[in-house]
Every structure is written in structure tokens, then in C-alpha cells.
């Protein structure tokens, strides 16, 4: 498979990388820790540390080599491990913070940006181990730098664990409170899911599912800037079928590039290649914006009427292009809509065009869910729980992954501004509804799984 030595193709590739931010967003080593179990915290921690540092010792180094050889930036190097709730289930009086700090230390030692998997899977209900583990999440997030946490609360075949939903709302509030000196960054490292994905390489929700192999290299490719550019280069009168086709072709190019890097890196690390996750993940950099794609399609702002339709088409076309390019497309694949990480969405939120309600509608067709949304610090737990329950319901009924990553910013009110820095960006604090959800939420229990026929 070789191309002609074509000037146009070479310049297009270079322009995609240099001007339009085509990058490998993350290379994520998925690593099982199931063989690290022990009844003793110290022994367990030592095994975890040894295993991570053994398998990931060359990850950052080999990624840098590839970056140099192909001149394509690899933004993040990460690790996803087996949900720690499972690994710690049989520990006597576990010291969770010691374990979290061990994960943090191992991540730092091998030079990765984030380590995901401080997680629990409780869509059907919590074990005793899950309960004590979940209680440790806020402090674990506050006392570590690189550890990310997630909880799966619902599934299309399990229903919604409303006890878990309420506990999760409290985890989010507590994590934000414990990190209030950094605008609640603890909550930005936590996400809750419906139908969570076991091979997702993106944070905060990456973990190594119990169905995954010993280890694998999963890769996340991005490029909203490239898609925007491709659409902007089209005739303004091109119909939406043509626009969808252009998105597919662009997604194909992005995916083949990602797979090349992923397979080469896996080969050099001598581990199996897992999946490529083609997600359009925006960054605060100018032009690297999913909102910018909506504007290129012809909407004045993200949040204008028509945004949900535009996003639905985008998400579907990205998947179609990616599927053609690789046999192993997995993870979350689609378009992310993290508000604080997308310059166009930040602007739309500032103008008041993009609201929580519109975002909720958009999550029914995007690849994940309500993401990186700053909300007032005094939002009651029951209101946050209501928001989570709504999002879980969208995922459960539509058989898709949905998620909530919100940050209740301590001491700040709607309209005020918050800066997380780096890729996490900045955002205005969004207004929540002032209505009371507490009686509904306090009923607890489990919302039954939906019927899987009579679809209408």
C-alpha cells in the first residue's frame, strides 16, 4: 500500500498537523491488575506499583520516538487499570488513600499524565467493598495529582442504580469541596457513566474492564480542527449529504494515521494493539473546536436551533469514516462536547446561548455526555443527582454511553468565571434550575431496565 509521491497529499498532511491540530490525543496502556489482589494493603500496593512500572516503563519514551519519526504530536500518555474497587474487595481494613497514592506515584515514575481506573461498576447495586471504596473517592482525588476516577451507575440491561446516583452526587460535591483552592479540580478528574466502555482510552473515564486482556494499547485520535477545515473548504451550497461525506473522508484519514501510530507503538512496546477510539475531542486552542464544526456547517453558535441535528450527523459520519479505516474501532468514538475545553462552546455559554438544557439534548446524540460543566458551588446534592439521573436515563433508553462530569465550584455563583488551566480550559458557571428534586431522588432504589422491543 504505497501512494504516489504526491505534492498535494504531502502538503495536506503537513497542513492538517501544523495548522489544524491533527494529533494523537492519547496513547493509553490498558493493564489488568487482577493478579495483584492481596488481603494486605501494603502487599497489594507493592504488587500494583511493580506491575505498572514494569509494563509502562517504555511507554513515554517510545511515544516520544514516534512523535519525532512521524512529526505528529502525541499529547497524552496514560494508563488504565482494572477498577480498584474489584482489586481491593478482599483487603482487610483497606487503606484506600495509600493505594491511590501508590497509583499516583507509579504514574509519575513512568511519566504518564493520568492514570484511570480508581473506579467502581455498580449499575445493578453495590457490594460491601464497593460501598467502602466509593466513600474514599473524594479524598483519593484530592490527595493525588494524576489519578482519575469513574463510576458506572446505569446500563441498558441493568437499569439505573439510584442509590449509587445519590452517592455519586455527594462524591462530586465533596471532591470539589476538598479541592476548592483549585476551583474544584478534584471533580474534573471524576466521571459517572451509563453503559461505560471497557476499552475507552480517554480520561477521566478510562479503566481496564474485567473482560479485557492482560494488557493492550488503546489509542485516541482527535482532530475537530481538521474536520472544520474540510467543511470550510466546501462550497457553501453543498447539501448535507455531501457534508456528511466530507466528514467521513476526513475521519478516515484521521483514523488510518492513528492506527499506524498505535500499531507501531504496540509493536515497540511488545504488547497487543487494542482499539482506536476516534473521538473529536476539542482543546481550548483556537480552531480546535467542535463548536467550530457547527459554525462551519452554518450555525451561528453552538446551541442554536439545529445544533442537535448537526451533532447527530457529525457523530454518525465520524463513526462511518472510522469503521472503514480500521477493523478495531472502539472506545467512545464520536464527538465530545466538553464545555470548558472548547473555545467555541465557552463563548456560546458566555453568551447564554448554550444552556444546560440544550447540552442535555445534545448528549442524546453525541458520543458521551454532559462534560466539563462548571455549576454553582451551592447546588444541592439532590439537584446534581437529578441531573445525573436524567443523563443516565438518556443512555439507558437509547442504548448508548452517557456520562456526567460537572464541577460544583465552591463559593461561586452562576455567571462567574472559572479557570482549570491546561487542556481542561475555562468556563462560565452555568445556571441550574432552582426547582427541588429531593423527594424523587430520596426514594432511592433502582429504576428498572427498559423494554428492548416495541421501539418507538
Amino acid at each position: 500500500m504505497t501512494m504516489d509521491f504526491d505534492v498535494h497529499n504531502i502538503m495536506e498532511t503537513i497542513e492538517m498537523i501544523k495548522v489544524h491540530h491533527l494529533d494523537i490525543r492519547t496513547v493509553t496502556l490498558s493493564l489488568s491488575l487482577r493478579d495483584c489482589c492481596s488481603s494486605d494493603t501494603k502487599k497489594l500496593s507493592a504488587k500494583i506499583y511493580d506491575k505498572i512500572t514494569k509494563y509502562a516503563s517504555n511507554l513515554a519514551k517510545c511515544a516520544c520516538e514516534l512523535e519525532d519519526e512521524y512529526s505528529i504530536p502525541i499529547i497524552n500518555k496514560r494508563i488504565a487499570v482494572t477498577p480498584i474497587s474489584i482489586i481491593t474487595e478482599s483487603v482487610d481494613n483497606p487503606d484506600f488513600i495509600h493505594i491511590a497514592k501508590t497509583l499516583d506515584k507509579a504514574a509519575k515514575e513512568v511519566g504518564v499524565d493520568f492514570l484511570g481506573g480508581y473506579s467502581a461498576l455498580v449499575e445493578k447495586g453495590c457490594t460491601e467493598g464497593d460501598k467502602r471504596f466509593m466513600a474514599s473517592i473524594p479524598e483519593a482525588l484530592a490527595s493525588t495529582e494524576r489519578v482519575c476516577s469513574s463510576v458506572n451507575l446505569a446500563g441498558s440491561k441493568a437499569g439505573i442504580n439510584m442509590v449509587g446516583v445519590y452517592k455519586t452526587a455527594e462524591i462530586i460535591k465533596k471532591a470539589a469541596e476538598l479541592t476548592k483552592d483549585k476551583d474544584g479540580i478534584g471533580a474534573a478528574k471524576f466521571v459517572c457513566f451509563c453503559n461505560s466502555v471497557t476499552d475507552n482510552p480517554f480520561m477521566a473515564g478510562a479503566y481496564c474492564g474485567v473482560n479485557e486482556p492482560e494488557c493492550a494499547l488503546n489509542i485516541g485520535v482527535s482532530g475537530p480542527g481538521v474536520v472544520r477545515w474540510a467543511i470550510e473548504n466546501m462550497d457553501k451550497k453543498a447539501d448535507l449529504g455531501e457534508v456528511a461525506n466530507t466528514i467521513k473522508k476526513t475521519a478516515f484519514k484521521i483514523t488510518t494515521t492513528g492506527e499506524l501510530i498505535g500499531r507501531e507503538l504496540a509493536k515497540r512496546l511488545d504488547i497487543p494493539f487494542g482499539v482506536i477510539d476516534l473521538s473529536l475531542a476539542p482543546t481550548p486552542a483556537e480552531g480546535d473546536s467542535v463548536a467550530g464544526i457547527f459554525q462551519a456547517m452554518g450555525l451561528s453558535d453552538a446551541g442554536a436551533h439545529g445544533t442537535t441535528a448537526a451533532l447527530a450527523m457529525l457523530n454518525d459520519a465520524v463513526k462511518k469514516g472510522g469503521i472503514m479505516a480500521s477493523s478495531y474501532v472502539g472506545g467512545l468514538s464520536g464527538a465530545f462536547i466538553p464545555v470548558s475545553e472548547d473555545a467555541g462552546m465557552i463563548e456560546a455559554a458566555r453568551k447564554g446561548v448554550l444552556t444546560i438544557d440544550k447540552l442535555e439534548a445534545m448528549t442524546s446524540v453525541c458520543s458521551v455526555g454532559l462534560d466539563m460543566i462548571a455549576i454553582p458551588g451551592d447546588t444541592p446534592s439532590a439537584t446534581i443527582a437529578g441531573m445525573i439521573a436524567d443523563e443516565m436515563a438518556i443512555g439507558m433508553i437509547n442504548k448508548k454511553t452517557t456520562a456526567v462530569r460537572v464541577i460544583p465550584v465552591w463559593g461561586k455563583k452562576a455567571g462567574e468565571w472559572v479557570k482549570f488551566g491546561g487542556l481542561l480550559g475555562e468556563a462560565p458557571i452555568m445556571k441550574m434550575h432552582d426547582c427541588d428534586s429531593s423527594v424523587f431522588i430520596n426514594r432511592l432504589g433502582r429504576i428498572p431496565a427498559p423494554i428492548h422491543s416495541l421501539n418507538n
Binding site: 500500500m1 501512494m3 509521491f5 505534492v7 519519526e69 512521524y70 512529526s71 478516515f252
Partner: protein, 92 residues
Amino acid sequence: MTEEKIIVTVTGQDKTGIVAKIATTLNECKVNIEDIKQTIMQDYFVMMMLCNITNSPDSFSTIKDKLTEASKSLNMTIWVQRKEIFDRMHTI
């Protein structure tokens, strides 16, 4: 043994000695030039070379470092990339 090929792209203000300097550097590394194309794009000089580094005693990164140094002395921008990235992106 599979052949190792790279694409060298040089851009910037047109001047004398660009091809000579880059070709000399490649020769020093015993890299064979298999094809060469040049054009003007938006007032910029663009030169691309398809090179075979299989028989070079130098590693990819050494070759890249030497080429980067040569292009700096010419005040030009250079991209040195393995050819597979273009093959994968532009062919089905």
C-alpha cells in the same frame, strides 16, 4: 529487510543553494534520494524529497537532526517524516 523511506519537506523563501545543501547532508548520511519535486505555493518555495534510508549507517533521529541543522542554516522550515504516514492517510 523492509525498506525504510522518509519524506523530507523543505519550505521557506526561495534562495540559491537549498537543494545543494540538503542533498549534501543526505549524501553525508549515505541516504539515497529516489525522487524530488519542487513548487511554489502561496509565494513559498516548497521542495519535497523521497529518500531511502535503509542503507544509511545513521539512525532516523541522527539523519533528522543533521537535516534540521542544515535547514536552520538556510533559514528554512523542514519536516522529516517516515513515508508510511502519507501512505496510510491517502490510500484505501
